[in-house]
Amino acid sequence: MPVAIIADTVVARRGTAPDGDRSRRARVAIVALVALLVATALFSLASGASDASAWAVVRGWLFASSSADPLSMRDSIIIYDIRLPRLILGVIVGAALAVSGTVLQGLFRNPLADPGLVGVSAGAGLGAIVVIVLGATLLGPVSGFLGIYTLPLAAFCGGLASTLLLYGVATRRGQTSIATMLLAGIALGAMAGALSGILVYMADDRQLRDLTFWGLGSLAGATWTKIAAAGPIIVIALLATPFLARGLNALALGEAAASHLGIPIQRLKYVAIISVAAAVGASVAVSGGIGFVGIVVPHLLRLLIGPDNRYLLPASALLGACMLLLADAVSRTIVAPAELPIGIVTAIVGAPFFLWILLRRRGVLDL
């Protein structure tokens, strides 16, 4: 571990101010990421299987004319009802996954924590599958009462249960063993997978199709209803995280030292765990299991702007959104007119990246 941290510092030193203050650089990076997100969003709006031109729609929207033109009517439906919800879903899910990774890593004091790798997403997935399969029958009254929020709330409960279990198993007196955490994550993932398998066995044909598509992770089913269901939960969870920033920074010194600095550790942990479970749960509910965003984004950003969570958290949200939009653009175009589930795209990029981090931690790859 020290070898890896030194390797990280070697990369991070390039361009670091000699006074050790990276906050100016972090602010510049955040402004640049905002610009990148705007550019990515416009690109995402303009690209797709149809030749609908986002620019034409924006122009029509700005000058409030030519809406009678049938061609631009078709375009405007494609833009407003297909691409725009998909864009917004990509932004909130990408931000949610990346910020969840950053918070989990701060909480576990461990740069390898990722909601997908440590079983949080699997737990959320189990919660979601319970609703998909049993929602109409066994859980009928509950889903009737909660409406569109049933699925994200069930996923939140599943995510919360697995995060709490993981924390209980992997952490002793504020110390987390990386190995225990990853292994506990495998066990939790396997358990959630097995329970999900039993439910899948009970599912009918229509549910099965839903499950398969959803399981690989995709933004394809984006609708305004899904955004209404998951959006508020994710936004609330993300808005809670800036209040964790100082506490997570202090936690890098260890639990006792953070407490001596005046951080209410127990409350910090509860808020962190609930925010992560809510953000991951709502994301999984609407887009399935999209992996590796939560590990790639914070890792790159730490090399760029350092580990200060006051900047790392907002920067993670921005870069997470950008990366998911780009991955979605790839998934929509690479096998057009068909579509690749986005989870496959993020895994193809993210899994080797994860291995690369592991290799560096072994001191095999030198930087």
Binding site: I6, D8, T9, D21, N249, H260, G262, I263, R302
Partner: protein, 264 residues
């Protein structure tokens, strides 16, 4: 002042500290000495609210167990024996964490430069831009001290004295830096704060401590001024070797005491 009465700490079924009475007054540097495993660090952890204890600890009149973390943090800062970091922070970023609670006591205009001033104090001027993990053990220890100093920069804030808890602050330092750090602690006390330091070097202890608490087997073996405590029979019994206070080594054998620094 800090007052602890009848403190007992158990971890599992094992009683580590039994019935210890302790106090530290503003303006005073108190040393805790004792052999390895005598419960010094455990006692300091109880005093800093890190471990559950029975008995009663009051800090400036308030019951420690009823204090919120941020309240305790404005009364005292704690330097741990060692700190393992989970992410690559620069030295400045670490020292700045000392300002987390916002009660350093420095004037608003000074706060921004406080990390640099604290680093200069521990003889690490120019280290702000370095990465913590690249430093030697002794340098890391001084960075942590700079962070702790930032937390209670003014030893007295709003007429309330503040305290430094130092767990083996000089254990990995060369003699020059041992003296620098002990002088910082001394000055903190002179300016109206209080210092509790776990020390292993009995000569440094004799040189800097106003009072010494001697721990042995989880109990308080003795307490008092260096003259009262550093006696042959007590030291021999507690440290389980035949010690003679003030005896010179056999003829011709060289010895260097910290007390000799700055003399003649």
């Amino acid at each position: 002042m800090i007052e602890a009465r009848d403190i007992t700490v158990s971890i599992g079924r094992h009683q580590i500290i039994s019935g210890v009475d302790f106090d530290v007054q503003p303006g005073e540097l108190v040393a805790i000495v004792g052999p390895n495993g005598s419960g010094k660090t455990t006692f300091l952890k109880a005093l800093s609210g890190e471990l559950a204890y029975t008995g009663r600890i009051t800090m400036n009149g308030s019951d420690l167990s009823a204090m919120k973390p941020w309240q305790a943090a404005s009364h005292r800062a704690v330097l741990p024996q060692s700190t393992a970091l989970s992410f690559p922070f620069t030295v400045r970023e670490i020292v700045k964490l000392g300002l987390t609670g916002g009660r350093s006591g420095a004037l608003p205009g000074e706060t921004e430069r406080l990390p640099e001033r604290a680093l200069a104090r521990v003889d690490l001027e120019g280290f702000a831009g370095r990465f913590y993990q690249e430093l030697s053990g002794g340098e890391q220890q001084r960075v942590q001290l700079a962070r702790v100093l930032c937390q209670v920069w003014e030893p007295v804030l709003d007429r309330v004295p503040r305290f430094l808890f130092l767990d083996e602050p000089v254990s990995s330092l060369d003699i020059k830096h041992q003296l620098i750090i002990m002088n910082i602690a001394r000055e903190f006390a002179t300016r109206g704060g209080g210092v509790v330091a776990i020390l292993h070097d009995l000569n440094l202890t004799a040189m800097f401590a106003d009072r010494i608490f001697v721990m042995h087997g989880g109990r308080l073996a003795a307490s008092g001024s260096p003259e009262q405590v550093l006696r042959d029979e007590l030291m021999s019994e507690v440290f389980e070797c035949d010690l003679k206070v003030g005896a010179l080594p056999a003829k011709g054998a060289p010895f260097v005491l910290p007390q000799s620094a700055g003399l003649g």
